[in-house]
């Protein structure tokens, strides 16, 4: 395809030295007398859909037209009740700004680990809410979080729960899980049947099944272990890797079923 060069003598050559820009500025002046494009921020907010329509009509400009605020990645909201303490948010955080801290569950009154977010470090990438398998950590349209102290930038799970209770528009985007997701596989000879994985599994998708105790050959010593083996229910598993982290023998690993 031939490259169309911009015309060497464009039609916008100066008339009367500066008549064109002066006229353009005057036209813009006349236009903005009705309503300038600026949004008077604390009083007018683009996240308000009604205001968006009004301002677009009043200004005759596509102000805020493109903005879909539901998708906005702002301050997180955490539903403590549905959090399963899977650590995935903390794992996925590229800035390591999420810490899992123990808070009492609203219903059961038992302690459970929930994410605490340091907004001084957070980059609002959304990886944590993408990773959350239960959809309990989502991002909201809230973007005002100035604080006078650094400690105030650390949002405890309770504070994130408060944000949740405000019923702000939540980011509706949920990522589909990849179809060929790796599963937890067991390196069977290493396992000692200690139940640590099943105990700590946040979704209780690991069950310890009995395995037959082999009869030792003469001269062979049976390993000292419990004769059970974990079996992972892949459809319930959220792939958090907690079992791998707690396994004392490092016998669990990621892999695909062949």
């Amino acid at each position: 395809m031939s490259a169309a060069a911009p015309k060497e003598k464009p039609s916008t050559n100066p008339i009367l030295w500066v008549a064109r820009p002066m006229a353009t500025a005057a036209r813009q002046f006349a236009k903005s007398l009705i309503r300038p494009s600026t949004i008077v921020y604390p009083f007018e907010r683009l996240e308000d859909p009604k205001f968006r329509e009004e301002v677009a009509v009043a200004a005759g400009k596509p102000l805020g037209v493109g903005a879909v605020w539901d998708n906005y990645r702002g301050v997180h909201a955490l539903n403590i009740a549905t959090c399963i303490s899977c650590n995935l948010c903390a794992f996925s955080c590229p800035d390591v700004c999420i810490q899992m801290v123990a808070v009492p569950d609203a219903q059961t009154k038992r302690l459970k680990k929930c994410p605490e977010i340091d907004y001084g470090k957070c980059s609002y990438c959304g990886f944590c809410s993408d990773a959350c398998p239960e959809g309990c950590l989502t991002m909201t349209t809230r973007y005002e979080l100035s604080a006078t102290k650094r400690a105030d930038m650390i949002y405890s799970p309770e504070k994130l729960y408060e944000v949740f209770q405000r019923k702000l528009p939540m980011n509706p985007i949920r990522l589909e899980r990849p179809k060929n997701e790796d599963a937890i596989l067991l390196d069977a000879p290493l396992c000692i049947g200690c139940n640590a994985c099943a105990r700590d599994c946040p979704t209780q998708c690991i069950t310890m099944l009995d395995i037959p105790k082999p009869t030792p050959k003469p001269g062979e010593k049976l390993p000292r272990r419990i004769w059970k083996e974990p079996v992972v229910n892949d459809s319930d598993c959220v792939r958090c890797g907690t079992c791998i982290s707690v396994c004392p023998k490092e016998c669990l690993f990621w892999g695909t079923h062949t």
């Binding site: 500066v18 820009p21 002066m22 353009t24 500025a25 005057a26 813009q28 002046f29 236009k31 903005s32 007398l33 300038p36 494009s37 600026t38 008077v40």
Partner: protein, 374 residues
């Protein structure tokens, strides 16, 4: 007898001193004697003039901010006071509270006196330029010359403060400023010569009164254009704001200034902008007078002269703002080339045209007027 600013000041002084004298014992009655009254009246006159002019300047800044805002599709100052009219006071307060940092290597005397003298010389102009008949310091037969002479002090003080800042940007800004102002003094004065030729007087009041029926802006259009362009350069406003071209020279000659000294510069710039607009109105747009076909109800209310004068001034300044909103900055060499190669011949031409007007004793469009040419 028309009300003049001095008569107002005199009556106020009279009243104050009279009240004081009435409560004093008889020995102290002398405070209300004529010399004391005159002295206090002069002081009051100066104070009123200063305060009113400063307020006017600050409103002018607000006016520019609002106007420029609309040109730029935004709102300008809007939160402090009605439509942000108090914003400049807030800014001034902020600048007054700030510390003025003097660079270690800077020259103390020049660093402090430069901006102060710049501001003072700019403020003196308010005492010379009449905003209505009688509303200046008195009848000065050469008030136009005096005003222009004081107006051209600026490059000296700018250069003093730029040099004593001991900063390369300041130095370059000061150099540019001096070169530019000197280059544009000439066409400025030449275009004023055209006005003086036609009016036959250096007295601003006389010049204005001669424009009762026709404004010099009409027959002396060329002189008006030259004068406005040269005035833009003298005021260092876009497109001629090279001395403080912030893109390359940070802030030009006031780079090192902060706090109140910067406020002095800022204020003086706008004082000069206001004075420039005053001069345009006085010399070319009829000053405080209005043509006779304007209904007399519109021109005969109290202080009508001042009101009309200010309306004209603000419109002229609005044009300056419009230019600022639409045009980029020119380059130093281009500016000087335009100044020496274009402006001066044009200004000379305008003088010749003015001489022709005087010779013909007629104004082309506005008809012949008795007493033309003094």
């Amino acid at each position: 007898m028309t009300v003049t600013l001095y008569s107002v000041a005199q009556s106020i002084a009279q009243a104050i001193l009279g009240a004081i004298a009435s409560v004093l014992p008889p020995a102290g009655r002398g405070v209300a004697s004529a010399p004391v009254v005159t002295g206090l009246a002069v002081l009051l006159f100066a104070a009123i003039l200063l305060v009113a002019s400063m307020l006017n300047t600050i409103v002018l800044i607000w006016f520019e901010r609002k106007l420029l805002g609309r040109f730029m599709d935004r709102r300008g100052a809007m939160h402090v006071g009605f439509a942000g009219i108090l914003q400049n006071f807030a800014d001034g307060l902020k600048l007054a509270r700030k510390d003025t940092v003097r660079p270690r290597e800077a020259d103390t005397l020049g660093f402090w006196t430069g901006p102060t003298a710049y501001l003072v010389t700019s403020l003196i102009l308010f005492g010379i330029l009449p905003v209505s008949s009688g509303w200046n310091s008195g009848v000065l037969p050469l008030s136009l010359l005096l005003a222009l002479a004081i107006f051209s002090f600026a490059p000296l003080f700018i250069f003093v403060s730029a040099w004593s800042s001991n900063n390369k940007y300041s130095l370059m800004g000061g150099m540019r400023s001096a070169a530019q102002m000197i280059a544009y003094e000439v066409p400025l004065l030449l275009s004023v010569v055209a006005v003086v030729l036609v009016s036959g007087s250096f007295d601003l009041t006389t010049i204005v009164e001669q424009q009762q029926n026709y404004w010099y802006g009409g027959p002396l259009l060329l002189a008006l254009i030259v004068f406005v362009a040269a005035m833009l350069a003298e005021m260092e406003r876009i497109p001629f704001d090279l001395p403080e071209a912030e893109a390359e020279l940070v802030e030009g000659w006031n780079t090192e200034y902060g706090g109140m000294l910067f406020a002095f510069f800022m204020l003086s710039d706008y004082v000069r902008a206001l004075v420039g607009s005053y001069l345009v109105v006085l010399l070319f747009l009829g000053g405080w007078t209005m043509p006779t076909w304007v209904p007399s109800t519109l021109t005969s209310f109290p202080l009508a002269g001042i009101v009309w004068f200010m309306i004209k001034t603000y419109i002229v300044f609005g044009v300056f703002v419009w230019v600022r909103a639409a045009l980029p900055r020119v380059r130093t060499d281009q500016l000087l080339r335009v100044g020496w190669n274009r402006m001066i011949p044009l200004a000379l031409l305008s003088v010749v045209l003015a001489a022709g007007v005087v010779y013909a004793k007629c104004l082309p469009v506005f008809g012949c007027v008795p007493g033309l040419g003094g």
